[in-house]
Amino acid sequence: MNKNEKLEALNKKRHEVMLGGGEQAIQKQKESGKLTARERIGLLLDANSFNEYDLFAQHEARDFGMMEKVLNGDGVIIGTGTIDNRPVCVFAQDFTVVGGSLGYMHAKKITKIQDVAMKMRVPCIGINDSGGARIQEGVSSLAGYGEIFYRNTQASGVIPQISVILGPCAGGAVYSPALTDYVFVVDKISKMFITGPEVIKTVLGEEISQEDLGGARVHSEITGNAHFFAHDEEECFRQIRKLLSIIPHNNKIAADRNKTIKPTAKIDINDIVPIDPTKPYDVRSVIKAISDDSDFVEVMEKFAQNIVIGYARIDGKTVGFVANQPYYLAGVLDVDCSDKAARFIRYCDAFNIPLVTLVDLPGYLPGVDQEHAGVIRHGAKLLYAYSEASVPKITVILRKAYGGGYIAMSSRHLEADFVYAWPTAEIAVMGPQGAANIIFRKEIMSAENPDEMRKQKVEEYKQRFANPYVAAAKGYVDSVIKPAETREMLIHSLKVCENKAEIKTDKKHGIPPF
């Protein structure tokens, strides 16, 4: 072969392998409403920025007639590329090649790109579309999964790890996404479960569709396994690019600083929060009213909606917001929202993202189901995460902050750096009704008109305690501010916190209650 022939041979070989499972399989993939692995990489990365590795990888399996089988790329595509001109690592399982099943070489390719991501300190994005372990390869496939999980764990808190579920992801395969930081799902395409509908039917006689068992909605709303929900694959990749534009790409560098853009929200911040603490409103309006360009990237939007978490920029710099959401379940703390917020706080702490906490909550959700679901154990995660976090912690108490909920929501007592309160804040052990009923029980019971007396005592309590000034008098609140001053106070406080010293202890790591 002369040089030209060799070049031609390479072209031909590349073309063949890049077809994955072949035209027919690609057709089938499209018919099932899915994009191909290569199209997905194209949507994720900057145009023409993808460089592929191990295109010519081959499996070494021998049993069950595998020797004769050539599996292009062994069912997975790996490489590096850029998003907004910053490097990232990617792997994408190719369902057209034996259902994207995971054999040992397939796993080796994934762990190779994980290692590159870790060495180069760049985000790692995994696109999952696989029927599961390649049974013919036996324990080698299991080994492959294990090696991926190990790397997921080692990379946790060092680089952002993103899992995109664009097809089935079943059995052991689900645990790599579960170990990563962000799971993206797409309506009607994503399916995640440990045991599928067939097994459930055999064992239990219960019929359930893949969608109802582990579809995108289920994981976004019920299980909390997914962090971002999209209606189609294009939207999903836009969401990933957006997220990566606002979070740091490793734990040693800050997120890109943007130009400071004033909030665009048309709503007057003074008008958002009703003065009556029993009335709902959407706390995201407050977040938007104080964030640059009113741009808020909400994480886990559909799960445990009684707490809102996500990223925004203030004065050009990324912050993580944690906010009680009175619109849903009165913004109470419960098992799910404590878990959701705690993990987010730990993420922000690991990646040096300052935390801004907006407080408006009546306390913990009462009920047998919550107690039995372990609200003590899960609620403790929130206390742990806030206490442990050494990033700048700024708290704004918007309205009510009652009881244990007040303590948990980044209070001064958990070493928040600056605590502000609006004049509408009520910092107390509980709401006026409950408190009056306990404190003035005798007076109310023995009164000629108990209802009238109760009313009077509730009013008395409100006057005395339902305000921010009792806490301010003790220095638990640093300043009572007008809503309109909030953004400027945050900008200033974040500036003051810029070189916050980290308290180092000699412990190896703490033992959070999970």
């Binding site: 799960f303 619109y327 849903y328 189901d369």
Partner: protein, 104 residues
């Protein structure tokens, strides 16, 4: 947001107006357990029922065998009593929490 139900949550005698979430809508109401009703602790298939209606049983007696996770599990009574009703027969596939039999 509008698909969510308007609800009221009461905490410390204070009634809060708010909206429900999908997970909140799905939660089951707690019921006081009745130790005369024996429920399956695992999903599986009933292999054998060892007792009859009206039979007097003692703590430790085997009531039935259920195959679950490829194991034959022998279920024993945890208290003395008389078998009141039997809700399953060999071959039945039962879910976790399914009532198996009751005592009186």
């Amino acid at each position: 947001m509008d698909e969510n139900k308007k609800i009221q949550i009461t905490i410390d005698d204070e009634n809060y107006e708010t909206f429900s979430t999908p997970a909140f809508d799905r939660k089951k109401k707690w019921e006081m357990p009745d130790d005369n009703i024996i429920k399956s602790i695992i999903p599986g298939t009933i292999i054998d029922v060892m007792v009859k209606q009206g039979q007097t049983v003692k703590e430790g007696d085997i009531m039935l065998v259920i195959e679950a996770m490829k194991m034959n599990n022998r279920l024993a009574f945890t208290k003395d009593g008389v078998v009141d009703k039997i809700f399953v027969k060999p071959g039945d596939i039962v879910a976790k929490g399914k009532e198996l039999l009751s005592l009186k």
